[in-house]
Amino acid sequence: MIELAGVSRTFRTRSGDIEALRGIDLTVAEGEFLAVIGRSGCGKSTLLRLLAGLLPPTDGTVLVGGTPVTRPRRDVALMFQRPALLPWRSVLANVLLPVEMHGGKRAQHRERARQLLDAVGLAGFHKRLPHELSGGMQQRVALCRALIQQPKVLLMDEPFSALDALTREELAGQLQQVHMDVRPTTVFVTHSIQEAVLLADRVAVLSERPGRVRHVLTVDIPRPRSFGRNAHLADVATCVAELTDLLHDTDAPAPIRIT
């Protein structure tokens, strides 16, 4: 479903270039769940923006569903690192935005939007404006907005970063369920190794800037998985340890080229 071949991305700015990604080769099969971990600033968000067609690569090719990505596609949904809610729309209307954009009937999807919001614990906040919500609540609205699209490809950029441990677990469980039911091809950026192991079929570890694929670890634990209380504690621990080591095993970040 997703193929990245020799993909690099450099940002040109006044004060010099920043090489964010270098020579990324990566494939994600249809329906697969790929987690991406890597240190802050290594290019995870950039990678998702390349996949979403928001940014062209400076080098290499990005294929989704066999065709090169030149612009955003309707069957790809991206949940941004920041909530990016429209401040003039109510929570419910924010969730319904993709439906409107994609020409769907608002009425049909309203019920689904309500269910999603209730499921992430925002019952009673449907009519509120974004600025009346806490940071974590805003993030959950953004999550609902991504899920309502029922996309073939789901790209998520640290979707649970603003949530407490418990809510995180709950929502990770729900996401796992969604993935098992609908099987969207998922690329999931996270900074929680636990979460990566819980959710992913494979985990890609990026090196420090410029981001390169250091390793792709296959997580061979049957689903449904759950935090701490499953029969594969040892497997999980092994994976977590291995990923932690991979993350630790750092080469120094490339110096910034000032041109």
């Binding site: 928001l54 990016a84 429209l86 401040p87 003039w88 954009m101 994609h102």
Partner: protein, 258 residues
Amino acid sequence: MPEERTSSRWQVVALPAAGATAAVGLWWGITVIFGIRSFFLPAPPDIIASFRAQPAYLLRETWATVSETLLGFGIGVVAGLTIAMMLTAWRAVERATFPLLVALNSIPKVAVAPLLVVWLGYGPKPKIVLVVLICFFPIVVSTVAGLTSTPADLGELARSLSASWWQGYFKVRLPWALPQVFVGLKLGVSLAVIGAVVAEISSPNQGLGAVIVLSGSSLDTPLAFAAIVLLALLSIVLFYLIVALERLLLPWARAISA
């Protein structure tokens, strides 16, 4: 630590009233202290007397100015928003035509007014056209500024949803720009009144502009000031109507700012 904003009736009514009273008092004081003759600068009572001498006439001319202003402003708003939309939609259009708009706007309306009279007669038509010409530019500039200030993440959101140009425009960029559109509307409506008056001065067959010209040729400065005071009131009313509309439509804009 500021408590939630409470705008008491006192502040909303008494403060402007106090300001107005102070201004009128100052003005009156100056005319008295310096013994300024009423044909240079009439004192407030002269103006009131002038108004009371022929209220029906002045109100009829006010109405003429109001109707030209509102019609022209309405057209100017539609034109300004449309132009701003086109300028922001295609960068090439902007490059090619924006300097022309600046040039068009810079032509002194006082110089255009006679031409419009020759083409459109001495009825309300040239006045309305002049109102449009004078009020569209601030609407265009403010709206363009608003439309090009969409925060990067909201712009990316629209793109990532494969929003059509229209959708991105009407669901994201335009709502975001609305507070700045209102800046344009506030400036536009003030200019619209002036445009109507300028046109009326050039072809003084109706409206408060005509009153000003007429009183000028008979040195009846109090009458001119009665007209000017009516114009000022008209402007204030129109301006605060737009402010009220803004408050009504854009509560979120105030909520997300400090």
